[in-house]
């Protein structure tokens, strides 16, 4: 299936590009909607044929994996949902992978969010990932969802010295003083690892500025591709690792699949999305090349004539 799918998709796309190249090199306009159609096809075909590739983790991704592996079981990991629908397809696989990995390793997981949408996303993660896949883990003991608070960096500025001043209860109104997981936690400084998943404002950058750097707390990031390059100056001193876009998510998924047999059958949206992604990248590059060729061709013709 994989091979036939690849062949069919590539043939359709290559023929289309040839047509486009001939048309534009002979100086005829191609309508915008035809370009749109190409893009739609380039993404749809690999999806329908279910084309996937194998992934290998790069150092900036493996650093996060190794950090979670090296912490002793029972360490406290905080995962912040700092994204909304506009980034969800890219970064939701990351937050799911982090939750799976941390819980499988026996860590305590605290979920929160600096985006209001984080309230819905963390609730979904508990419902769809933690409850069905880790039925033995108990809310308030092994994991807790404390939800969203308004105020962006203002929230971080409080919880870096005192959690309870900002968060009196979890999302279900349970007092934080009465839950086992929060025993001995005063502030963010008691976390063994913080992970911010998101790519806008507030996001990884605010976590570095207002939590990780002043508190000297290890921070990992999962970011939408658009803003991932801007976080590199923090790597590796202020940010131990970074998943950039869907490729980062796919690499992380493949890494946990490799090390944990229990995740052999887990859904891997990140890896699945890399098939369409690859073809779409090819199309974009081909468009740039064809567009430039016809541009210079037309320019030369003008000079000659």
């Amino acid at each position: 299936m994989n091979n036939i799918g690849i062949i069919i998709s590539v043939v359709i796309i290559v023929l289309g590009l040839l047509w486009l190249a001939i048309r534009s090199l002979t100086g005829r306009e191609v309508e915008r909607r035809i370009i749109f159609l190409f893009m739609g096809l380039a993404v749809s075909l690999p999806l329908i044929f279910n084309i996937t590739f194998s992934e290998k983790a790069t150092p900036v991704v493996r650093n996060i994996f190794n950090k979670i592996e090296s912490l002793p079981a029972g360490s406290r990991i905080l995962i912040s949902f700092d994204y909304g629908p506009s980034m969800a397809p890219e970064v939701e696989p990351m937050s799911n992978a982090f939750i799976r990995h941390s819980l499988a390793k026996g860590h305590k997981v605290i979920l929160m969010g600096l985006w209001a949408t984080g309230q819905s996303l963390s609730a979904t993660a508990v419902q769809d990932i933690i409850k069905p896949e880790f039925p033995d883990k108990i809310d308030g003991v092994d994991y807790i969802n404390i939800g969203y608070k308004a105020g962006n960096q203002g929230v971080l500025n409080v919880i870096i010295t005192d959690f309870r001043k900002m968060y009196a209860t979890d999302v279900n109104g349970v007092n934080l003083d009465s839950v086992a997981i929060f025993k001995g936690i005063k502030s963010l400084r008691d976390m063994d690892l913080m992970i911010s998943v998101g790519g806008g404002f507030p996001g990884v950058k605010e976590w570095v500025l207002f939590a990780a750097d002043p508190g000297n707390i290890p921070l990992a990031g999962g970011s939408a591709a658009v803003s991932a390059p801007t976080y590199y100056p923090y790597y590796p001193r202020q940010l131990i690792g970074l998943l950039g876009g869907i490729k980062g998510a796919a690499e992380y998924e493949s890494e946990i699949k490799k090390h944990y047999p229990r995740f052999a059958d887990m859904p891997t949206p990140g890896i699945k999305m890399m098939g369409p992604q690859t073809l779409a990248h090819l199309i974009v590059m081909a468009f740039i090349v064809i567009g430039n060729l016809s541009f210079f061709f037309a320019k030369r013709k003008k000079i000659d004539g």
């Binding site: 993404v43 999806l47 209001a116 309230q119 007092n175 500025l209 750097d213 490729k247 999305m273």
Partner: protein
């Protein structure tokens, strides 16, 4: 009735019929997969709704049209209300109510934290902010705006100075020769692993030259001529590579979002792929 109006009514009717057909088929599909009756009908409705809204937005690619406008306006309304509700329950009820009223705390079922009078400051400033909606008392909102601006400025000043300025400068103190063992070993290993000293050395040179010339490019007090001009030229090239990287990543991100939506249409709605 003119022709274009007739066509648009026909399209609307067609859309509604398609919606209902999709709803019925999806309910059946969900029920055969073992979902309980009423729940299947509800979920089938929701999935179909989401799919039609998705398609309505995509229809903008053909041209601007009423379906797109409908979806866009719906989005604006729903998202504003979403943020309001979550903000109200999480922070207003969660952080403000417990500090000011025991009976209200009981009503909202949040643990009271003891009365603190200075918590009325944010309430007053908040109400002043809402005065913006009135044209007469609008100037009062400046007080709250001043508080917001002051907090942001105070929070940002130290943190940006420390993390984005000072630490970035000191992180650039890189040795320009790494683990020097002589010319031979230097040229023998161009692998990307940390042991590749040539690669490390090269990387450090690029970081040093790149940051330095980039700063020169953004240095406006001296005209960019001579050495300064050359350095700022190098600076712009490094910045161009940076933008190239951002460009590549942005393309990647945009495509991912499209893949995400098409995955929803193909698998959740149409059930073409699992």
């Amino acid at each position: 009735m003119d022709k274009s109006r007739r066509i648009s009514i026909m399209i609307l009717a067609g859309t509604i019929i398609l919606f209902i057909i999709s709803w019925i088929i999806k309910s059946n599909a969900l029920q055969t997969s073992g979902m309980e009756g009423s729940l299947a009908i509800r979920d089938a409705f929701l999935i179909t709704l989401a799919a039609f809204l998705t398609l309505a937005i995509f229809s903008f690619l053909y041209k601007d049209n009423p379906y797109y406008k409908f979806a866009e306006h719906l989005f604006v309304g729903v998202s504003a209300a979403y943020w309001m509700c979550v903000g109200f329950w999480s922070t207003f009820v969660g952080n403000f109510i417990p500090k000011v009223s025991t009976s209200l705390s009981e009503f909202f079922k949040v643990p009271p934290k003891g009365f603190e009078i200075h918590y009325f400051i944010p309430l007053i400033l908040g109400i002043m902010l809402l005065m913006r909606l009135s044209s007469k008392a609008g100037w009062l909102s400046r007080w709250s705006l001043a508080f917001i601006v002051g907090t942001t400025a105070g929070l940002n000043l130290i943190r940006y100075l420390r993390t984005d300025f000072i630490t970035q400068v000191s992180n650039t103190f890189v040795p320009l020769l790494v683990d020097w063992k002589g010319i031979g070993p230097f040229f023998s290993d161009f692998s990307l692993s940390a042991s590749g000293q040539a690669v490390m050395t090269l990387a450090n040179w690029v970081i040093f030259v790149g940051v330095f010339s980039g700063l020169i490019y953004f240095f406006f007090s001296k005209e960019h001529k001579g050495f300064f001009g050359g350095a700022s030229r190098v600076g712009i090239w490094v910045l161009m590579v940076t933008f190239g990287a951002s460009f590549g990543y942005t393309v990647m991100g945009r495509v991912s979002l499209l893949v995400g939506r098409l995955t929803f249409l193909f698998s959740d709605w149409l059930g073409l792929v699992n």
